[in-house]
């Protein structure tokens, strides 16, 4: 039997490294356009509002609500066998941008669009801290 290992993100890519440095410290870092102040996630090269390529990284509060979700009763890949059934969620941060992650501490059929969510920092390896999402008190 092959042992399947979950795909961890590459955390050393220039476009996204500050995000993963943030999660390792329990922070949710998003890009803020230096020119127009727009917040952006996922991190990209250009601000789609004003077309500037100059950004700062700022920490989001972590307050969020469930925007939509995608339940997987069977795993998409054998490395997620022990997680199934699981749900991948898109949450909307109170600052505006949306983020995607794995739902945790909630049954798949208890997810409801609009419910308050908060991040759970999951140390997946020495170098990588992933962000899961769990229901928060209203």
């Amino acid at each position: 039997m092959t042992d399947f290992i979950k795909p961890l993100p590459h955390t050393d890519q220039p476009l996204t490294a500050p995000y993963w440095e943030g999660t390792a410290k329990g922070e949710l870092k998003i890009k803020k356009c230096q020119s127009c102040g727009s917040l952006q996630f996922p991190p990209r090269e250009m601000c789609k509002r004003c077309h500037s390529q100059d950004f700062d990284w700022v920490a989001a509060s972590g307050k969020a609500s469930l925007f939509t979700y995608s339940p997987a009763i069977t795993p998409a890949h054998p490395s997620f066998k022990d997680d199934a059934p699981y749900a991948v969620v898109i949450v909307e941060l109170e600052e505006g941008p949306r983020m995607l992650g794995l739902a945790t501490n909630v049954a798949v059929d208890k997810l409801e669009i609009g419910m308050p969510m908060q991040p759970v920092y999951h140390k997946a390896s020495d170098d990588v801290t992933l962000v899961y999402w769990e229901p928060a008190a209203a």
Binding site: H10, P71, A76, V88, L100, L102, I113
Partner: protein, 390 residues
């Protein structure tokens, strides 16, 4: 507007058998389909002077190596997933209309069953990520959370749609049943002889809720091709020409990412359908059939709303009572579609539209039909539509 409207025609179609598992390469399958399409048109491979590849897993040069065209003047690879096949009509038609090329072949050979199955674990995930736009985002922000299959992405959209427009997921059943019924009349349909019943549909397990087992398209290996030329030249060829009234593509805002998109239901099709109907000078109500990209049953219903066949939230009503079956108000996917014929990237939708308009659809012929539409949906909401007539 619409300089190409009615000035080009589809004059040849070709397919291979659709199978689950093959020793043959994708190119071999695509070449066989190409030869069938060229022969169908009454042309020779050396006549081809343009090649368009929807979903460029391969290169045009690799097809030219076998077909050996005398003077290949035009090539394009169209990269918008399942929307590529119908969008390719736009590229072929505009190349012909502008005089760049005379006979443009659109061909796809693929081993989607044999090569693209992440579930088994034997697919390299770095490679798989790169098959999507913005592979870096897929690989780093989605795969680590167990998101990597098409039904998972679509379900993100479906669950929000179901909630915002109060859609009953049981209504998806009508799309699956129509496809299955139509496949029984198609000798090249993989699910011929395996007719679905409502009971079987409703009792099947939920895999990616709200999607049940029979809401998914087939996975298959095979080749498909079609060939376009000018309306002028089409008159002298073997088959009754099928004229392109309009072919358009559209892209959602932030086309490569669901998270970054402000509006989930402003999709490629919602942008390009209106343009196509305007160019063609017809209304959605005028259509006599529609071959609608059906990677999932729900994709068909959502597209019906986005292309203006009904209003947002209106598709459950539209598809009931046999309305989308042969003999109904608007027959949809008369060959069985991706759900019951074969995956074929949606190439098969174009070929079926051509068969219907030629009057070659055999037992499933819509008597005397003269106008139809074909749609494509790809990646994260890219869309395409062609409106065709005889």
């Amino acid at each position: 507007m619409g300089s190409y409207s009615n000035n080009t025609a589809i004059v040849g179609i070709g397919e291979t058998l659709h199978v689950r598992g093959t020793e043959r390469t994708a190119i071999s399958l695509g070449l066989e389909a190409s030869m069938n399409a060229i022969d169908d048109a009454g042309l020779r491979p050396e006549d081809i002077d343009g090649i368009v590849l929807p979903l460029g897993l391969h290169r045009v040069e690799e097809y030219a190596a076998g077909l050996n065209p005398t003077d290949l003047k035009y090539h394009a690879s169209i990269e918008i997933g399942g929307a590529s096949t119908v969008a390719s009509i736009q590229y072929a038609a505009s190349a012909i209309q502008s005089g760049i090329a005379e006979y443009v072949l659109v061909v796809n050979g693929s081993r989607m069953f044999s090569d693209m199955r992440a579930q088994t674990g034997d697919v390299n995930l770095d490679w798989l990520a790169e098959q999507f736009p913005a592979g870096m985002l897929r690989r780093n922000f989605e795969m680590p959370y167990g998101l990597m299959l098409m039904p998972q992405y679509y379900t993100m959209i479906f669950n929000r749609w179901v909630r915002d427009y109060n859609i009953d997921p049981d209504s998806f059943c009508h799309v699956a049943l129509a496809a299955s019924k139509h496949a029984q009349l198609n000798d090249n349909a993989m699910l011929k002889g395996k007719q679905l019943t409502e009971e079987k549909y409703l009792n099947a397990p939920l895999l990616h809720p709200p999607l049940r087992r029979f809401d998914y398209c087939l996975e298959s290996d095979g080749g498909s091709a079609y060939l376009l030329t000018s309306a002028e030249r089409a008159k002298d060829l073997k088959q009754k020409p099928v004229y392109v009234m309009a072919a358009t593509e559209g892209h959602p805002d932030s086309p490569d990412d669901l998270c970054a998109r402000d509006h989930l239901f402003t999709t490629g099709l919602s942008k390009c359908a209106g343009r196509a109907f305007e160019t063609a000078g017809v209304k959605p109500d005028d259509l006599e059939f529609a071959q609608i990209y059906d990677c999932f049953t729900a994709t068909v219903m959502l597209q019906m709303e986005l292309m203006g066949l009904c209003e947002m939230g209106g598709s459950p009503d539209f598809v009931k009572d046999g309305n989308i079956e042969l003999g109904g108000k608007l027959p949809v996917n008369t060959h069985g579609g991706l759900l019951a014929e074969s995956y074929s990237m949606g190439m098969n939708h174009v070929n079926e539209a051509v068969r219907q308009l030629r009057g070659d659809a055999g037992e499933r012929q819509i008597e005397g039909c003269s106008l139809g539409a074909v749609t494509g949906w790809g990646d994260f909401g890219d869309g395409s539509i062609a409106i065709v007539r005889n």
